[in-house]
């Protein structure tokens, strides 16, 4: 077994899942909504990219942009259905969780109804070149995946640091009540947040479809991995999510080398449970600063 191959694989997956985890994390800490319809948004943006590749152009940039835009649209849809009507009602957290699950059920079944159960694949947007680094062979899609997802993440983080809207989102993450008092619209910010995180999911979807296929239920595993990473890193912390993505990626690589592929999820969850037993709010989440449910 090639160790280098597995390590590069783990890094690629960590980059993609890390993007999803950061999306889940930001949504929870700014809106108090656990977005479990992420799997649907993921699959939807995959289909959006596929439609663009079929009917518009197979140019990589067009496909990528279509995926991101469909993801953002899916996020706005989730916001309009699950956040806007109930965000000020009693018991919002449980009801939001269940509402996003219901949207996930409706959406994935709708996709299956519309597109059929057969999976689709996207054109290779990064070409087929190869890069030799000593022993390790890096294919173009791996390099493209890492570079693009890191660039997109940096872009989003930069935007959140330097723009007015990003300031609003960060204020909501710190204290939603105080943010509302100083005049930051909760509903408007909800749309921004869910569109941004939906765009991240769309990016992850297009990138992941370089390795896997697009199917109506294909968003489930990425969502669960993203949720696991977000939990382990601490909901609401971007840095924690990055650390957790790296740790879990290496755990995946090591487990598949030493024990075998079918034990990956088991060791992963044992690791997560140990982390959560020691620090109930994840690696970076500090107990007092975590958002109250």
């Amino acid at each position: 077994m090639d160790f280098g191959f597995i390590v590069t694989n783990a890094i690629v997956l960590a980059c993609i899942y890390g993007g999803l985890a950061i999306g889940i994390s930001i949504t929870w800490s700014s809106l108090g909504l656990i977005n479990l319809s992420y799997g649907f948004v993921f699959a939807l943006s995959g289909y959006g990219a596929w439609l663009a590749a079929q009917y518009v152009s197979t140019n990589g940039a067009v496909v990528l942009l279509a995926g991101i835009l469909t993801g953002a649209l899916g996020g706005v849809l989730v916001c309009a259905l699950a956040f806007i009507p109930i965000h000020d009602k009693p018991n919002f957290t449980v009801r939001g969780l269940i509402a996003t699950l219901a949207i996930n059920l409706i959406g994935t079944q709708g996709l299956m109804w519309w597109f059929g159960p057969r999976s689709k694949n996207l054109p290779e947007i990064f070409g087929t070149g190869k890069l030799h680094l000593g022993n390790i062979v890096l294919t173009a899609d791996k390099v493209g995946n890492v570079v693009l997802s890191v660039a997109m993440l940096l872009l989003v983080l930069k935007w959140m640091r330097s723009s007015r809207r990003g300031l609003e989102i960060r204020a909501m993450m710190m204290n939603p009540h105080a943010a509302a008092i100083v005049g930051i619209g909760v509903r408007r910010t909800g749309f921004y947040v869910l569109a941004i995180t939906g765009g991240l999911a769309g990016l992850a979807s297009v990138l992941l479809s370089q390795t896997y296929y697009i199917s109506p239920f294909g968003g489930l595993t990425p969502m669960i991995k993203g949720v696991a990473i977000a939990l382990c890193g601490g909901l609401g912390s971007v840095l924690g999510a990055v650390i957790a993505a790296i740790v879990l990626g290496f755990n995946e690589a090591l487990t598949s080398v030493l024990l075998g592929g079918q034990y990956v999820l088991i060791t992963q969850f044992i690791l997560i449970i140990i982390v959560l037993l020691i620090r109930p709010r994840g690696i970076a989440g500090i107990l007092d600063k975590a958002r109250e449910a």
């Binding site: 009507p85 409706i106 595993t221 949720v227 997560i272 959560l276």
Partner: protein, 545 residues
């Protein structure tokens, strides 16, 4: 003929007394009183109060009450009282849910005889599935509703136990009657493992973790050869169905076995939720844990106990599941199974046994009976789930309470738009006042002012201008009496600037040592003019108040 007022002093030759004056038609002060006191709320006979049928009481049987072992509880919550109007004893059934339960269970019992022959086998299979899933959901409801642990791994416990028992049954030829008990042991072990993080984690962190655990089980079972990754499941476990029966009677037999399972789950629900553990956990709802802990309730321990008990029961159901279907498929670990299960709980309403059963009935009917509809049926289930979550607080069985709350809100809104605030105290003001006499005095004063306003007219003002002092007509006398009786604070008075030449109107302060304040600059040349000026000011104040 216009009404007129006759001066009683005219006959006695009093100086300046006029014999008759034009007057308004006399109206009774009682009219205002009656108008204020009458109710303007439209009254309906039905729907304003909760209606209970009053059963006649039996004097001799009053104290012989049916209680069931091992509690001292009665089957029905019957309240007896003496009706003071009819002079009879009467009984009210305060909680009719047991009656509905019994009727529903009888309907489930009799249903197989009423199924049409053409769809009998479909309905029997769907019915058995409904009964198994409702028993799973009852145990899950104990975890989510009673213990308040948001675990989404209940189907994982059932599946793990079903896979374990099916595997053991195939490998070692275990008979069917061992499987549920073995499943209970597996459920206990599995439950203890997944209860470990629940001691530390908050609700949503735990929910997310258990979704992952569910996926872990699915992927593990899907990849391991001994759990039949090639065949899509593990089949060949020993079945409890007797081999000699015809297919129809086998289905019927299976249906009644599942019914017995559901009855068992109902008893478990009743004995956990309705007794000591349930009481403890109702004491410590979400966000009130600190208070419960301070009063000495060990709610963590109770939660874990309920979780473990439910896990054992779920394992038992898993063993039964394996012997019912002669095995188990991977779909039990699927995310859609969890979603549908959650849809069953949410549609019925989290926290009630009837919610679990009725929600399961709705979802299973859509999912298993209308199977020809394809993916659209799952979309319908999702839409119902979304609608329930967005619009209802407690699922279908919370509609009644939510409607009553909504109606009370609307009622109070309408009441507040009807309330008149001219001088009367608002309810919250009235509860704050120490002198309750003031409330009634204000109400009386308002009605009196309302009446006096109707008396003011040009004739009266002309009459007062003619003779500010002396004998007045009856309406003017009423007005002046009211004005003279006003409290001293801000009462108008006249002061003499220069005797018989200049007078001014002032307002008294009402406090000793504080001088009156001037209200206008106008100088009146005679005392009568000044009297009339005060009168006009008072009339203006009355009409403006």
């Amino acid at each position: 003929m216009t009404p007129e007022w006759k001066n009683p002093l005219a006959n006695w030759g009093v100086e300046g007394a006029i014999e008759t004056l034009p007057a308004k038609v006399w109206t009774s002060p009682q009219g205002i009183w009656d108008k204020v006191r009458e109710s303007r709320i439209p009254l309906h006979k039905v729907g304003r109060l909760r209606y209970y049928y009053k059963w006649p009481g039996h004097g001799s049987r009053q104290w012989s009450r049916l209680r069931y072992w091992p509690t001292r509880r009665r089957v029905l919550d019957i309240r007896g009282q003496f009706n003071d109007k009819s002079k009879r004893r009467e009984k009210t059934i305060a909680d009719k849910r047991p009656i509905w339960w019994v009727l529903g269970l009888i309907a489930i019992l009799l249903a197989p005889m009423l199924f049409p022959i053409s769809v009998q086998s479909t309905l029997l299979t769907a019915g058995a599935t409904f009964l198994i899933y409702s028993s799973i959901n009852l145990c899950w409801m104990l975890i989510i509703g009673t213990a308040g642990i948001y675990s989404l791994a209940s189907y994982a416990v059932v599946g793990a136990s079903a896979f374990g028992t099916a595997y053991l049954s195939i490998q070692y030829g275990l008979p069917w009657y061992v499987l549920p008990f073995l499943g209970g042991v597996i459920g206990l072990v599995f439950g203890m493992v997944i209860a470990l993080p629940a001691t530390r984690l908050d609700g949503f962190y735990y929910a997310l973790l258990t979704i992952g655990i569910n996926e872990l089980c699915r992927v593990y079972a899907l990849q391991s050869k001994q759990f039949g990754s090639a065949t899509g499941g593990l089949y060949g476990a020993d079945s409890y169905l007797p081999a000699g029966l015809s297919p129809t009677s086998q289905s019927t037999f299976a249906y009644y076995c599942c019914f017995a399972l559901m009855l068992g789950a109902l008893f478990l629900y009743r004995f956990v939720d309705g007794r000591r553990l349930g009481r403890i956990l109702r004491m410590a709802p979400e966000k009130r844990e600190a208070f419960a802990e301070a009063t000495g309730v060990n709610y963590r321990r109770a939660r874990i106990q309920v979780f473990i008990i439910s896990s054992i029961a779920l394992g038992f159901i898993g063993g039964f599941y394996a012997s019912h279907y002669r095995g188990v498929s991977f779909s039990i670990f699927g995310f859609d199974t969890v979603l549908l299960g959650l849809a069953m709980l949410v549609i019925g309403g989290i926290g009630t046994a009837e919610g679990a059963v009725v929600g399961t009935l709705i979802v299973i009917f859509l999912d298993k009976v209308l199977i020809s509809a394809g993916p659209i049926r799952l979309i319908i289930i999702g839409a119902i789930m979304l609608g329930v979550v967005l619009f209802l607080r407690g699922g279908l069985f919370g509609i009644k309470a939510q409607f009553q709350v909504w109606r009370a809100k609307k009622k109070s809104e309408r009441r507040s738009t009807r309330a008149e605030k001219g001088g009367e105290m608002l309810p919250e003001e009235a509860t704050e006042t120490h002198d309750k006499d003031l409330i009634y005095w204000r109400r009386y004063d308002k009605m009196q002012r309302d009446f006096l306003k109707t008396l003011v007219c040009d004739e009266i003002i002309a009459e007062h201008k003619r003779s500010p002092l002396g004998q007045h007509s009856e309406p003017l006398e009423r007005l002046l009496l009211y004005f003279r009786r006003a409290p001293l604070v801000d009462k108008y008075a006249i002061i003499t600037v220069e005797p018989f030449k200049a007078y001014r109107i002032v307002a008294l302060s009402g406090h000793r040592g504080v001088a009156p304040r001037l209200v206008e600059d106008k100088i009146y040349t005679s005392q009568e003019d000044a009297y009339h000026g005060v009168f006009l000011r008072r009339v203006q104040d009355l009409l403006e108040a």
